[in-house]
C-alpha cells in the first residue's frame, strides 16, 4: 500500500514515520503541507513535531493547510489516517476526532519509554496486535493531556474507541489514562506516543511499535 506522510513546516518525525512505513512493508509517499492532492495514496500518517511552531494552539494552523482539506475529505470517505502526537493534535483540531490535547498537567516536557495497552485492535492501524496487547514505545510531548467532557469520554469508552491506554504511569494528565482514540468508523486513529520510534532494535524502545505499520498490509478496507 502507498502510505502518505505529511510534512508540515515544523514537523520533526516525518522521516522516521516514512522509514517505519517502509519497514512495515508499505511504500512511503512524502506529502507536503501545501499539496492540493494526495498523489493516490491509500492511507496517510500525520507525524509528530511542532507544525507551524505550535503557534496559536498545537495543530490549529496545520488544520487549515491545503493538504489537510484533502486528508479530511479522504478520512470522511474511510481512508485510514494515523495522527501521531502533533498529528493527533491536528486530528482533534480538524474535528475528525473528539476532545483536545492540552499542556501536561505537571507542566514539564516528558520523554520516556511508555507502557500501553492496545484496547482496540479492530482499526486498520492496530489490527496486527493481539487483543489487549501490552507494548512499550516512546512517549515525548509537552501538550499531551487528552481532555473531553464526561459525555464524550463515556461515548468513547462505550463504543470501544479508546485505542490505547497508558499503563503504570499516566505521563501527562490525560483523562482516564487515554493515550489514543479512533473516530466512529475506526479508520482515523490519534495516538500521543510514537510507534514510529520503536520499529528497529538499533535504537529506541524496541520494536513493539512496528505493528502500527504492518497492519495495513493485512487489512482489507471494507
Amino acid at each position: 500500500m502507498k502510505v502518505g506522510v505529511v510534512t508540515f513546516p515544523g514537523s520533526l518525525d516525518d522521516v522516521d514515520a516514512q522509514r517505519a512505513v517502509r519497514i512495515g512493508g508499505n511504500e512511503a509517499v512524502p506529502l507536503w503541507h501545501g499539496d492540493h492532492d494526495l498523489n493516490g495514496v491509500d492511507a496517510v500518517v500525520l507525524p509528530g513535531g511542532f507544525s507551524y511552531g505550535d503557534y496559536l494552539r498545537c495543530g490549529a494552523i496545520s488544520r487549515f493547510s491545503p493538504v489537510m482539506t484533502e486528508v479530511i475529505d479522504a478520512a470522511k470517505r474511510g481512508m485510514p489516517v494515523l495522527g501521531i502526537c502533533n498529528g493527533f493534535q491536528i486530528l482533534c483540531e480538524s474535528h475528525l476526532l473528539p476532545g483536545a490535547l492540552i499542556r501536561n498537567d505537571h507542566r514539564k516536557f516528558v520523554c520516556r519509554d511508555q507502557r500501553l495497552r492496545i484496547e482496540n485492535n479492530r482499526t486498520p492501524w492496530t489490527s496486527s496486535y493481539a487483543a489487549d496487547a501490552e507494548i512499550t514505545i516512546v512517549l515525548k510531548n509537552g501538550e499531551g493531556g487528552f481532555v473531553a467532557d464526561d459525555r464524550t469520554l463515556d461515548m468513547l469508552e462505550g463504543e470501544g474507541r479508546v485505542v490505547a491506554r497508558y499503563l503504570e504511569v499516566n505521563p501527562n494528565g490525560s483523562l482516564r489514562d487515554i493515550a489514543g482514540i479512533s473516530n466512529e468508523r475506526g479508520n482515523v486513529v490519534g495516538l500521543m506516543p510514537h510507534p514510529e520510534h520503536a520499529v528497529e532494535d538499533l535504537t529506541g524502545a524496541g520494536t513493539q511499535g512496528l505493528g502500527f505499520f504492518t497492519g495495513l498490509v493485512e487489512a482489507s478496507f471494507a
Binding site: L56, R57, A60, F64, C92, E93, P98, G99, A100, I102, R103, N104, D105, H106, R107, G145, V147, A148, D149, G173
Partner: protein, 87 residues
C-alpha cells in the same frame, strides 16, 4: 481606528497548567491573597473601515473557527474605541 478584541479563555472545567504555574509563582514573589489564576489569550484585530454588525459577525466566525478551540475554550468579542492622546 477602532479595534475588535477577542478574548479567549480556557473553559472553567479545563485544567490550566499555565495559570497554575503563575499562581505558584506569586507567593514566592511576596504577592499574597490570590486564590486562582487562569491564563488566556487576547487578539486585537484592526480593520480599515467601520466596525459594522456584519464585521462583528465575521469576527465571531473567526473566533469559532480559528482563534479558539470550542472544545476547551470560551471567547468574548468587544470593540475598543481609540483613546485620543492627551497633551
Amino acid at each position: 481606528m477602532p479595534r475588535v478584541v477577542v478574548d479567549v479563555m480556557p473553559k472553567p472545567e479545563i485544567l490550566d497548567p499555565q495559570g497554575k504555574a503563575v499562581l505558584g509563582a506569586l507567593p514566592r514573589l511576596g504577592f499574597q491573597g490570590v486564590t486562582d489564576v487562569r491564563q488566556g489569550k487576547r487578539f486585537e484585530l484592526e480593520f480599515a473601515g467601520e466596525i459594522t454588525d456584519a464585521v462583528l459577525a465575521e469576527v465571531h466566525q473567526m473566533a469559532e473557527t480559528l482563534l479558539s478551540n470550542p472544545v476547551i475554550e470560551n471567547f468574548t468579542v468587544h470593540v475598543e474605541q481609540p483613546v485620543e492622546a492627551q497633551s
